[in-house]
């Protein structure tokens, strides 16, 4: 028996919930999966439209989860681009997605390029987190096999 069935949630630090929504929903066209507020706590998750999993938790660093000094350190790492690749989004047409998002003002760090493993490109969210978009070659083979 496997220990796990799937990955349900992953976590990304953002600096502002509304700005995060404007980007992840308004520009990337992910959909809000959960948005729940109580007191100073907000549980906000997004994901690919029509796909139940995984949900990405958009979380703002700060008290009471961590002290303000630690939150400052997190914000510094995010804005310096030191959080690494926070997610890879799969597409079946990387070139088209790249052009569509670029037209919407998404800030790309690398244009869509054909590599041995597939086609991918890189972008940053408004805070500095790095995101990749990938059209894996294996995925293309799977599609062909399923036709």
């Amino acid at each position: 028996m496997k220990n796990f069935n799937s990955i349900t949630h992953a976590h990304v630090w953002v600096l502002d919930h509304q700005e995060a929504l404007d980007f992840y929903v308004g520009k990337l066209e992910l959909e809000v999966k959960a948005d729940y507020t109580r007191g100073g706590f907000r549980w906000l998750t997004v994901g690919v439209a029509g796909e139940p999993l995984p949900e990405i938790v958009l979380d703002v660093p700060g008290p009471p989860v961590m002290d303000e000094k630690t939150a400052e350190q997190v914000r510094e790492l995010v804005t310096k681009g030191a959080t690494g690749v926070v997610m890879v989004l799969r597409t079946d047409d990387c070139f088209a997605t790249y052009e569509r998002l670029r037209a919407k003002g998404v800030e790309f760090t690398q244009e869509a390029t054909d590599h041995g493993y597939g086609i991918d490109c890189g972008l940053r969210d408004p805070f500095g987190n790095q995101i990749r978009i990938l059209q894996p070659r294996v995925w293309q083979s799977d599609q062909a096999a399923n036709r």
Binding site: L15, E72, Q73, R75, E76, T79, K80, G81, V85, E107, T109, Q110, E111, T113, H115, G116, Y117, D120, G122, R124, P126, F127, G128, Q130, R132, L134
Partner: protein, 147 residues
């Protein structure tokens, strides 16, 4: 960390991304400072304070990393690779390469095998970039810190 400092980080990261993307172009400090929306002197000073090295050194490492890739993965001549990655003089390229990598481009090519193809290029680009911080212990040789 103030919001102004976070915004400064983000602008500097934008300029650093421009170096990653346009390394083969004749990038200069005025161009990069404009991307970061600061004066040239302020750009050099804050870039170093934020990322631990000067913009010039960062661009050199990016170009050397690309040249290392091309030396490993292609049959192009050292001269062609020198110009491909943005150097304008073979002498400067060879001297910079040796200073950063610890061996000449030709010696590096002889001693290096192509990387396995299954690793995404964004990771190989980040992890195979020669170090500028003095901690590199790879067999390619010692790396000098910028003076």
């Amino acid at each position: 960390m103030s919001r102004a400092a976070e915004e400064s980080n983000r602008r500097l990261l934008r300029a650093r991304d421009a170096m990653d993307r346009g390394y083969a172009e004749p990038l200069d400090i005025p161009t990069l400072a404009r991307i970061a929306c600061v004066s040239e002197a302020h750009f050099i000073r804050t870039f170093r304070a934020t990322f631990g090295e000067t913009p010039h050194r960062y661009l050199q490492r990016r170009r050397v990393e690309r040249s290392m890739f091309l030396l490993r993965e292609s049959d192009r001549s050292v001269t062609d690779i020198c110009f491909d990655v943005g150097f304008t003089s073979l002498g400067t390229f060879s001297r910079t390469f040796r200073e950063i990598v610890g061996q000449s481009p030709r010696a590096y090519r002889r001693s290096s095998a192509p990387a396995p193809g299954a690793v995404p290029t964004c990771f190989t680009m980040a992890w195979e970039r020669p170090s500028s911080f003095g901690e590199d212990s790879r067999p390619s040789g010692p790396v000098k810190s910028p003076s």
